[in-house]
Symmetry: C2
Subunit: 245 residues, 2 copies
DNA sequence: GGGGAGAGATGCCGC
DNA sequence: GCGGCATTTCTCCCC
């Protein structure tokens, strides 16, 4: 297979809306929101049926260059090399690659309409706390859950055992300074909206950094250690127990 | 090629540290920080030489499941299907896929030691402002740039024409509420550290949301519209000018 | 389409 | 390793 033959192969596959994968030796230039150059090396190109483009180096998790779905791709053979060009008009972005060798190539009409089911998000965490307010604090009453209240996107909003309005902010990961400032912003908004000065803030997360804890305490807020729920893990544990018998 | 033959192919390629790509019909389960399930459909599997795993649906920019570099992968043929398993981090995370058909397969020893050159980051933006303080304000004097001052990671720190201490926070994208709270946090930290009450805050970004602008003004801070630098674009423009003659 | 916030965020750099 | 923060963040949801 000659290098120029891949131009036909790629353009045909693009027209057929196939998923395209090829490994090649190339240089790459990107221009758009930022700009980048990448000198000679082996990379993996992926073009999906929705015309999303991913260019990967042979290491690392993230694409080294990419373009969103709805882009326009073309390949021409010129001066003994393939000139690949991707353009996203809406985003005013473009990628140009000069390909001097193709190591392998494949394309196929992949079909997949499935949507992933994911458990353990922050939303699941706030659902859990809303349904089990005693996990927040003894005597806590949950009033609203991740609803667009006029106070903002508050995860859980309610009153403590003393009837004090309380904002609960959930983080599925370790809480940092920005989590505290976010909570602070919500608490201040509730205070201004309600015209009151006593509003509590609770940060619920698996853990919290030292600096964030200090800032939290400076503002009189409370930290509670909560992990996001994992149904499948619970299933596995139950299964393990059953298997034990 | 029989389905079971791919087990040998994949395991051999793993041992040779090749970059592996294959399209297949499968179901996927993930368990780790969160948990997920994905029912039958066609997907693209990528395993890199550093053992990073990416699983893509035939649409969208992001992998539907993934595992970081340094994972352990294995494939066995069982009950007429391929059982793929990836494990990482002392078995804290794992992906299991049941593959009922392989549409295509490729592996190759891709080599690439190049590092991308990228222009237009926030760092480039703060460099630009530090070197050209008149872009911030007439009469501005820049004292430090993105240094680990005892006040935190302040992008540009200096004094305005009246000698008032000023914190400049850069955003390469549109500034939002969290950008304002970040600036606020730095300003407050400088005020406490220096024991003074008059510290200015300037937010430098291409644009700012309406709510963020309101909060900024409530706090007496200033917004200036600055875009991140793009050398290549400048080059192109210069080239276009030259071509015009 | 803009705004706001999460993500199995990831990756980078500094201490 | 943790911490703090940018990212060509991307994606989703809601107004």
């Amino acid at each position: 297979m000659q290098l120029e033959d891949y131009a036909v192969l790629i353009n045909d596959a693009l027209n057929r809306q196939e998923t395209i994968v090829f490994g090649c030796h190339c240089t790459i230039r990107y221009s758009g929101r930022a700009e980048s150059r990448l000198s000679h090396g082996d990379r993996l190109f992926i073009i999906k049926r929705d015309k999303a483009l991913l260019i990967h180096q042979p290491h690392g998790s993230m694409p080294i260059n990419y373009m969103k779905a709805g882009s326009t791709h073309s390949v021409v053979f010129l001066d003994g090399e393939l000139r690949f060009k991707a353009v996203n008009g809406a985003a005013k972005e473009s990628i140009e690659a000069t390909i001097s060798r193709v190591h392998f190539f494949n394309s196929a009409s992949l079909q997949d309409g499935e949507v992933i089911e994911l458990v353990g998000s922050e939303r699941d965490m706030s659902d859990m706390l809303y349904s089990n307010p005693e996990m927040i604090e003894e005597g806590f009453t949950a009033a609203s859950r991740e609803e667009q209240t006029k106070y903002g996107f508050i995860d859980v909003f309610g009153t403590d055992k003393n009837g004090v309005l309380t904002v609960v902010e959930c983080k599925r990961y370790g809480a940092d300074l920005s989590a505290v400032t976010q909570l602070r912003r919500y608490v201040e908004k509730v205070m201004v909206s309600k015209g009151i000065t006593k509003v509590r803030g609770i940060l619920a997360a698996p853990k919290i950094t030292e600096n964030a804890k200090k800032m939290l305490e400076d503002w009189g807020f409370t930290f509670i250690s909560v992990k996001p729920p994992k149904y499948l893990e619970d299933e596995n544990k139950r299964q393990a127990r059953l298997d034990g018998f």
